[in-house]
């Protein structure tokens, strides 16, 4: 055994976490080695698009690492790290793939692909989640024309390029390349499944318009170099119509990556569940089940660069057997400063975990992370935590004291349900994405943890125990609210445990007319349409939003369904078996009478909702336009609209020069026109995958974009209604006098110079825009007094905004009223 091959700390993976750990080890003068399988450091960031802005979230977290890091371009960050590696003389081995790790502290054996062997006292695992890119698996796959990544689509022009793959990356690459090249995309199956809706539309449109070629059901057979030929390579593919030969310059393989999990498990690291999203089991010092084997970074569940770098520092301290206060300690201490008791941060965390059964089984690192994103409140007695119909969706747990939940119809009688320490609330809005169903008041000596929705959803995905408890309570509370307010909770819990949660695709049938009615269905998220067969046609008679029930008659007697219920958007529904409910009815004879009254009322209100055929057609039309998920829809009454476009002008004038609505575009039915304008969806498509989390929802429902938008365009692609677009910030307008007297700039109501989206007008003289484009969309004029400018500026009263509560009224008025 070679002495140079023995180190104190071996680090696998030179991402932000691994680099930081190696630099810390180097700084301390500890013998170390850092293995990186690619030829450069921070491979994932190297693969980012040229000039991409990398963020340093979370902003509040201080950085603790020998390497420097702040938000900036990909190039600046990579250069800075390269300098740091030089400065600390980090022992980094590029092109070294570790194939196995065995042993435990103090003697690990690491085998490399090259056959070399290393020995280390401790091992730090920082390989990230990217995995290794899948290869084509055909003769010629190693030719230099094959690549797994695409830095800058603008680099290539006039080439014939084959993009292999049918995922988001493949589509984005293919479409970007098609601007300057002849591009073929190779899809192994017959359609593009499992891609973002925006990308699906993008690729189908591009193929349809002939911008790029597409082979379905196609597989690569071989790739050969053809020196001297018109195109230097030839790719042979197998299609439905036999073999095809494609002369090309380049093949881009975007066929995914092999997830690292298998390799990780082979090293002895355990996972709590087979769920691919599950995180490895670690103690609070990032140590796995194998003593001396540490896991940090994305693989440990910390996808952010700064977190990983801090962990790199901490884990080296731990590996050396030293104590270190985590970098987030002061942040947590500050959060806990208001607490009525004085304890250290870790004591407080332990106390919270112990007091709240929901979190007891959660990994303490994960819990710490959750608290870091959460707020700790000490509200005064009687203070409202949130109010009914607020659009907030955070989740609350009670550490100490009590709260009271006030439920009940508006104007009607209300009930107050007390909750004590260890319990939680806010799960309705958390799960459905809809408005608050009740008002919560703080009791005496109350201490609450408020966690953001996405952190809790993440937790539910990784910790089964949490998911189960929240799911069950959601159902029990929903039954209690809707049907059995007098029934004690423990009785409902047994029913809830037997309820079934099902997911439905858009358009899928929940139950059909004529089916046996044997269960109640509670819409947890999404919404459904209710339709009946009248003659030859399916006529939609109403729509039901999340948090409500359908098929309630199924609970009382054996009947048949008198209507068909379909999901209008992807929907989650809980179905409750009638037999489970029957037990409850037997135990509580009074409940049956109560239930009958409740249902009678519900039938009456359903009947009101059911209008004529015409209104049914209008509902169907509006559902197609997004009514199923809208919270506020801009409609134009075409009997009144004179086409003056004052609405668009007003929008542009009040929003820095870019109108967020296109009046003329969009469909019309029965004189109701739905212009291209934001629907403010219940569960906004645009809010998914926003890297800087710049799209927010205000408590009263408006979905708006903050200034920290980086212009990535994800939201534009994800919006099914095409209401978001990317625009340059326009030149500021001159004052009225200087415009009128000196002709400066553009006048009131004129289009702003440089406001045209799609053109690099602003500051484009040198060919490069000065500022990136940013996403713009309707923000419901949240900063304007007097409400939406489009409606206020309409001279004839044609423009109106309708909320779901007003849909029914509007529909009956439109269909019958004229």
């Amino acid at each position: 055994m070679n002495n140079t091959n023995k180190v104190q700390i071996a680090i696998v993976g030179a991402g932000p976490g691994g680099l930081s750990a190696a630099a810390r080890a180097a700084e301390l003068g500890v013998s170390h080695v850092l293995f990186e399988q690619s030829p450069a450091h921070a491979n994932t960031i190297q693969k980012y698009q040229k000039g991409k802005h990398v963020m340093a979230e979370p902003n509040v977290l201080p950085l603790r690492s020998p390497l420097r890091f702040e938000a900036g371009t990909r190039e600046a960050i990579l250069d800075e790290w390269a300098r740091g590696l030089d400065k600390h003389a980090v022992n980094i081995r590029y092109g070294s793939e570790v194939t196995s790790i065995s042993g435990s502290r103090p003697d690990f054996t690491l085998k490399l692909k090259s056959g070399e062997e290393y020995h280390a006292e401790t091992v730090i695992f920082a390989i990230g989640m990217q995995g290794n890119p899948r290869r084509l698996g055909i003769p010629g796959e190693d030719l230099p024309c094959v690549q797994n990544t695409l830095d800058d689509p603008g680099e290539y022009s006039g080439e014939v390029i084959v993009v292999v793959g049918a995922g988001d990356a493949a589509i984005e690459n293919a479409v970007a390349l098609a601007k300057q090249n002849t591009v073929f995309i190779l899809n192994r199956s017959a359609e593009f499944a499992r891609v973002k809706e925006g990308n699906l539309n993008l690729i189908l449109k591009s193929v349809e318009e002939g911008k790029l070629g597409c082979y379905y059901n196609a597989a690569c057979v071989s790739l050969t170099a053809m020196p001297g030929a018109d195109r230097p390579y030839t790719l042979v593919i197998n299609t439905d119509n036999g073999e095809a030969v494609v002369p090309c310059n380049r093949v881009i393989a975007r066929i995914g990556a092999i997830p690292p999990r298998k390799f990780v498990e082979s090293c002895g690291i355990r996972f709590p569940s087979p769920d691919p999203a599950a995180l490895p089991v670690l103690n609070e010092r990032y140590e796995s089940a194998v003593p001396g084997l540490y896991v940090i970074g994305a693989l440990a569940g910390y996808p952010l660069i700064k977190q990983a770098m801090n962990q790199g520092y901490e884990v080296v301290e731990y590996a050396l057997g030293r104590e270190v206060e985590p970098a987030d300690e002061p942040l947590l201490a500050k959060k806990f400063a208001n607490l009525p008791f004085r304890k250290s941060v870790s004591e407080t965390l332990a106390l919270m975990q112990q007091r709240i059964p929901l979190f007891t089984e959660v990994n303490s690192l994960v819990f710490r992370e959750l608290l870091l994103g959460s707020a700790v409140h000490v509200p005064a007695k009687g203070e409202a935590i949130f109010r009914k119909n607020d659009y907030t969706n955070s989740f609350y747990t009670i550490v100490e004291g009590t709260v009271e939940i006030e439920l009940g119809a508006e104007g009607g009688p209300s009930r107050r349900i007390p909750l004590g320490a260890g319990q939680f609330f806010g799960e309705m809005s958390l799960l459905s994405g809809r408005r608050r169903s009740g008002t919560v008041y703080a009791g005496a000596n109350c201490v609450l943890i408020e966690s953001p929705r996405r952190d809790i959803l993440k937790l539910m995905n990784s910790a089964d125990s949490v998911r189960k408890v929240i799911d069950q309570l959601f159902i029990a509370r929903a039954i209690q609210t809707g049907f059995a307010p007098g029934v004690p909770f423990d009785q409902l819990n047994s029913i809830a445990a037997r309820a079934e949660l099902k997911r439905y695709r858009k358009g899928e049938t929940l139950f059909a007319e004529g089916d046996e009615a044997d269960r109640l269905i509670l819409i947890r998220s999404g919404s459904v349409s209710v339709s009946r067969r009248i003659g030859e046609h399916d006529v939609v008679i109403s729509y039901v939003a999340a948090g409500n029930y359908v098929g309630e008659m199924g609970l009382l007697g054996k009947t048949r369904r008198n209507a068909t219920v379909r999901a209008t958007v992807p929907t989650e529904a809980v179905s409750l078996d009638a037999t489970a409910f029957e037990e409850l009815l037997v135990r509580n004879p009074a409940l049956r009478a109560e239930l009958e009254t409740t249902m009678q009322k519900r039938f009456a209100s359903n009947a009101r909702m059911r209008g004529s055929d015409e209104s049914g057609d209008l509902i169907s039309f509006l559902i197609k336009q997004g009514l199923g998920e809208a919270t506020d829809l801009l409609l134009i009454d075409e009997t009144l609209c004179v086409g003056c476009d004052n609405c668009e002008t007003a929008c542009a004038e009040t929003h820095g020069g870019t109108s967020r609505l296109d009046r003329a575009a969009g469909p019309t039915f029965a004189n109701v026109h739905v212009p291209t304008s934001c629907r403010h969806c219940e569960d906004p498509h645009c809010m998914r995958e926003c890297p800087p989390d710049a799209i927010r929802r205000a408590p009263n429902g408006e979905v708006y974009i903050q200034d920290n938008c980086i212009g990535c365009g994800n939201c534009e692609r994800n919006c099914p209604y095409g209401v978001i677009h990317m625009a340059y910030a326009p030149a500021p307008k001159p004052g009225l006098a200087s415009w009128l007297l000196f002709g400066a700039g553009s006048g009131p109501g004129d289009a702003h110079a440089g406001a045209h989206h799609g053109h690099a007008a602003h500051g484009a003289a040198d060919g490069k825009p000065k500022a990136p484009k940013k996403a713009v969309k309707c923000d419901m004029c949240k900063d304007q007094s007097g409400g939406p400018a489009c409606v206020r500026a309409c001279p004839t009263g044609a423009a109106l905004r309708v909320s779901p509560e007003a849909f029914v009224e509007f529909i009956s008025e439109s269909a019958v009223g004229r």
């Binding site: 075409e638 009144l640 004179v642 004038e653 003329a664 004189n671 206020r792 509007f810």
Partner: protein
């Protein structure tokens, strides 16, 4: 919940306007001046002041409409009041004149004012009459989309014509290039189709003929169709006929769209400039009255 500007808030401003007219007429009937009724009596001055202030306020709609940040009522409310109080001005101003007209700057102001009011009334009629037709004609397409569709049809037709003798492609291309929509204001308002097409006659000589509603184009294709003996050729010509028929209806819709939009706008070109002329003559009227009367 939503209503036309005429129905705004239960026709609130209609009642205001009627009350104003009623009071004015009552005062006029009750008032017995020494001289015959005219603008110089105390009632004449009162009505004149009310009228002038009304004119200024009515003009202010143009400012309010462009004050997009303003929260002083809604534009719809302003329009509603503008219409009703503008009509009331007929009564107020006429009573102010005491029915004394002549060839002078005072009557000029009156005539200009009436022109503005009549043009405005015309606008109201247009606003009531046309929106529904505009929408029905568009049937969920914007004008740009219709034009784009016409361009697409032409592209497809050219592709088909590529497999037919050269005169077909020439005809389709000239049909595309010589399509003329719009023109003078009158052309637009009358919905005239000034398109032409150059077609090869039986002698092979190209001739430019007017082609409103694709008439000659279709006729020419029909003639070619009837002469075709080849099945494949017949099929292609038939396809062209279908495309050109779609083109005709699209073109009609575009022209109709422009026509309606024209009627919805044209009155403003009278209403607004004459308002400014009115303001000028109103100043002349007021100044001359105070200086020289």
């Amino acid at each position: 919940m939503h209503q036309s500007f005429l129905q705004y808030r239960g026709k609130r401003y209609l009642w205001w306007a009627l009350s104003l007219c009623f009071v004015a007429v009552l005062a006029y009937a009750w008032h017995q001046p020494v001289s015959p009724p005219n603008g110089g009596t105390w009632l004449g001055y009162t009505l004149g002041t009310i009228g002038a202030l009304l004119i200024l306020w009515l003009t202010a709609l143009g400012v309010r409409k462009r004050s997009y940040q303003s929260a002083v009522g809604t534009v719809q409310g302003w329009v509603s009041a503008h219409v009703y109080l503008g009509l009331a001005l007929i009564v107020v101003a006429t009573l102010h004149t005491g029915f004394q007209f002549g060839w002078n700057v005072h009557t000029l102001a009156y005539v200009l004012m009436m022109t503005v009011i009549v043009s405005g009334l015309f606008g109201v009629v247009m606003y009531l009459r046309f929106p529904e037709r505009l929408s029905a004609n568009r049937s969920s397409q914007t004008r740009e989309q219709m034009l784009q569709e016409i361009a697409d049809l032409d592209q497809r037709a050219l592709r088909i014509a590529a497999n037919l003798p050269a005169e077909f492609a020439e005809a389709i291309a000239s049909n595309r290039d010589r399509t003329r929509i719009g023109g003078t204001v009158l052309d637009i308002l009358r919905g005239r189709d000034r398109s032409q097409v150059s077609l090869a006659g039986d002698d092979g000589v190209l001739q430019v003929v007017p082609n409103p509603a694709q008439e000659h184009m279709l006729e020419w294709l029909g003639r070619q169709l009837s002469r075709s003996t080849d099945a494949e050729r017949t099929r292609r010509i038939d396809e062209l006929v279908n495309l050109m028929a779609s083109r005709r209806s699209l073109l009609r819709r575009v022209i109709e769209d422009a026509r309606i939009a024209g009627w919805l706008q044209v009155w403003l070109y009278v209403h607004v400039p004459i308002t400014f002329a009115l303001l000028g003559s109103l100043i002349a009227h007021v100044v001359s009255v105070f200086l020289y009367w």
